[in-house]
């Protein structure tokens, strides 16, 4: 037992988590400014700031040097897309942290409860039937309805089998998602020439997002963030199991439901806005846990920032770097999948625990 800690030292930066959070926030800001300048038309980052400052404050002096086209591109085309990508990335990463904690399963992600399948089904239905009740927002609205209906069904299934049991939840999620993906296949089959629209929506995209998308995704994100931060300490205890959490003063019946429903709603909002984007919610919590440890009070803010940076950079790559824009969901899976294999392999071979 003598000096047992020395054989496996922890390279954690948990004492510097405030510093890391600050650096990540700065990095996010830098990524936003740089990304707004990249694209078919190159814009200097200073002009980006001038355009933003001028538009926000109404100070005509700031945008005197910036031509109107630049201002419109930055404010009406690029920034909405960039901020939506950042909000969705942050939201998916946050939800990943919460799901992994509540389901006691490091392999859970925001879609474990079938939220993505529900959203996809709703969106496919709207696209197939050409629903236009809510104008251009018909598809996102139907996706959101599909996601929340799926969530309610999964919650109903698992709670009737005896409480917020992690295995019941995962199993119910898998069953419902399997049924829904069969439903989606059926919709694709009957869709005929519209099938490509459905497929493109499913692969996810941030193209032509507006300020309304920004507002929607960031509202859900902020409300979710407040709920998660409030319960961060309880989530730590829930990671140790329900009985342990209950004996340490957590309402082990109510708190998991509050967190699961909130996280699923945030995930539903993200999916509705952007389509299905995989691996962000799985990968980011893992990377951050390896960096600062599993304490959710540190993990949540860091995952928020790095998820936002990651998805924003991925979207910028597909928008401005690659010769052709490829769907963001495909890109994250192509990059994220192999990287996850690498992390997983490293853990198997006795690397740092995460």
């Amino acid at each position: 037992m003598l000096n047992a800690s020395s054989d496996r030292p922890l390279h954690r930066l948990q004492n510097h988590s405030l510093l890391i959070a600050g650096l990540l926030a700065l990095a996010l800001l830098a990524a936003i400014s740089l990304s707004a300048g990249m694209g078919y038309m190159k814009i200097a980052w200073l002009d980006v700031w001038r355009a933003v400052g001028g538009s926000l404050t109404g100070n005509a002096g700031l945008i005197a040097d910036v031509d109107e086209l630049t201002r419109v591109i930055v404010m009406e085309v690029r920034l909405p897309r960039i901020l939506t990508a950042a909000a969705v990335g942050g939201g998916l990463a946050l939800c990943g942290v919460v799901f992994q904690g509540i389901l006691l399963n490091p392999l859970a992600d925001p879609y474990t409860l079938g939220v993505s399948a529900g959203a996809a089904f709703g969106a496919a239905l709207a696209l197939l039937l050409n629903l236009t009740v809510a104008g251009i927002y018909s598809v996102p609205v139907c996706a959101f309805i599909g996601a929340t209906a799926t969530l309610m069904l999964v919650v109903y299934l698992s709670s009737s089998a005896g409480g917020a049991n992690a295995n019941n939840l995962i199993l119910s999620g898998i069953i419902v998602a399997a049924i829904l993906s069969a439903g989606i296949s059926f919709l694709k089959f009957v869709a005929d020439e519209q099938v490509s629209v459905i497929i493109f929506w499913l692969m996810g995209s941030f193209a032509s997002k507006t300020w309304i998308d920004v507002g929607l995704s960031s509202t859900f994100l902020l409300v979710g963030l407040m709920v998660f931060v409030f319960y961060a300490r309880d989530l730590n205890l829930l990671c140790l199991g329900r009985r342990a959490a209950a004996s340490l003063g957590v309402d082990a019946r109510r708190v998991p439901w509050i967190l699961l429903v909130t996280a699923s709603l945030v995930a539903a909002a993200c999916v509705s806005v952007s389509g299905i984007i995989g691996f962000v919610g799985l990968l980011v919590p893992h990377m951050m846990r390896a960096l600062v440890g599993p304490d959710n009070r540190r993990l949540l803010p860091l995952s928020l920032f790095s998820g936002a940076i990651l998805l924003l950079c991925a979207d910028t790559v597909t928008r401005a770097v690659l010769p052709h824009e490829i769907p963001i969901g495909v890109l994250t899976a192509l990059i994220g999948g192999p990287f996850f294999c690498y992390l997983f392999r490293k853990r198997q071979t006795g690397g740092r625990g995460f």
Binding site: R243, A244, G249
Partner: protein, 262 residues
């Protein structure tokens, strides 16, 4: 400060566990609970810790209904060392023991000097100080159990509930930890309610014994009066001899399987 259970009825889906259970658990005593597998021992502890609420009957703790306590107030009264301690997340040992102080610190507050002292003290008591910076996922079963034990001690409660809390420990650590909690009963009038599989540990440490079989209390009272050949035969269906062991000076049980043909 004891528990009074009155007319308790509880059923898991498809299986009745308790039907009209009455039981008094006095304060300031080391109380052992023994009984065969599936007799309702863990369910009894769950009721006491309020993880589940009885379908019938009432539980009083320290003269008040158990349901009247707030979640955190109850966590400052009763600590549990559970049977299952599988943890999938690499919290360090120190972080896990600190969680025992959560009920004493405000939600967004920093730990006080008292919290830090108590965590250090209990880590030393449970012999986990040497690996306090290691992730709990890298420890052996027995080491983990000591960490969870330390967390419950750090919770610093008048009542400590042990659910086979020493099942995975080596003999030396078992005796060390049980001596430690027996000392808390002796010196600070705390209450320990412990489920044992090992009858000799139960008889050596418990001042009172509750014998449970099929959801009924078969016998309850001072250890020497409850640990009898007749009771052990009724509850466990074994032939037993009970005597004070001259080596340890404690009540020891020896047993063999009953011969049903005789």
């Amino acid at each position: 400060m004891g528990f009074a259970l009155c007319g308790i009825g509880f059923a898991h889906p498809g299986k009745t566990i308790f039907d009209g259970l009455d039981l008094e658990l006095p304060a300031g005593r080391f109380i052992g609970i023994v009984g065969p597998n599936g007799c309702g021992k863990t369910t009894l502890l769950d009721l006491i810790c309020r993880h589940i609420t009885p379908h019938q009957g009432h539980i009083h703790y320290a003269g008040r209904p158990l349901g009247a306590y707030g979640k955190r107030a109850l966590a400052r009264q009763i600590a549990l060392v559970p049977q299952d301690y599988g943890i999938n997340f690499p919290f360090t040992v120190e972080e896990v023991v600190f969680m025992g102080r959560y009920p004493h610190t405000p939600r967004f507050g920093a730990p006080s000097a008292e919290d830090v002292d108590r965590v250090a003290q209990t880590m030393a008591d449970c012999d986990v100080l040497a690996f306090k910076d290691r992730p709990i996922t890298s420890l052996s079963g027995g080491e983990r159990q000591r960490v969870i034990f330390a967390r419950a001690l750090a919770q610093d409660t008048p009542v400590l509930v042990l659910d086979e809390a020493t099942a995975n420990l080596d003999v030396c650590h078992t005796l060390t930890l049980l001596d430690r909690v027996a000392g808390l009963v002796q010196n600070e009038r705390r209450t320990v309610i412990a489920v044992f599989q090992d009858l000799n540990l139960a008889s050596a440490y418990s001042q009172e014994i509750v014998m449970v079989k099929a959801g009924r209390v078969v016998a309850a009272g001072p250890t020497a009066q409850v640990f009898t050949r007749q009771n052990l035969k009724r509850v466990f269906d074994v032939q037993a001899r009970v005597a004070i062991d001259d080596f340890t000076g404690r009540l020891q049980v020896r047993y063999k399987r009953s011969n049903h043909n005789s």
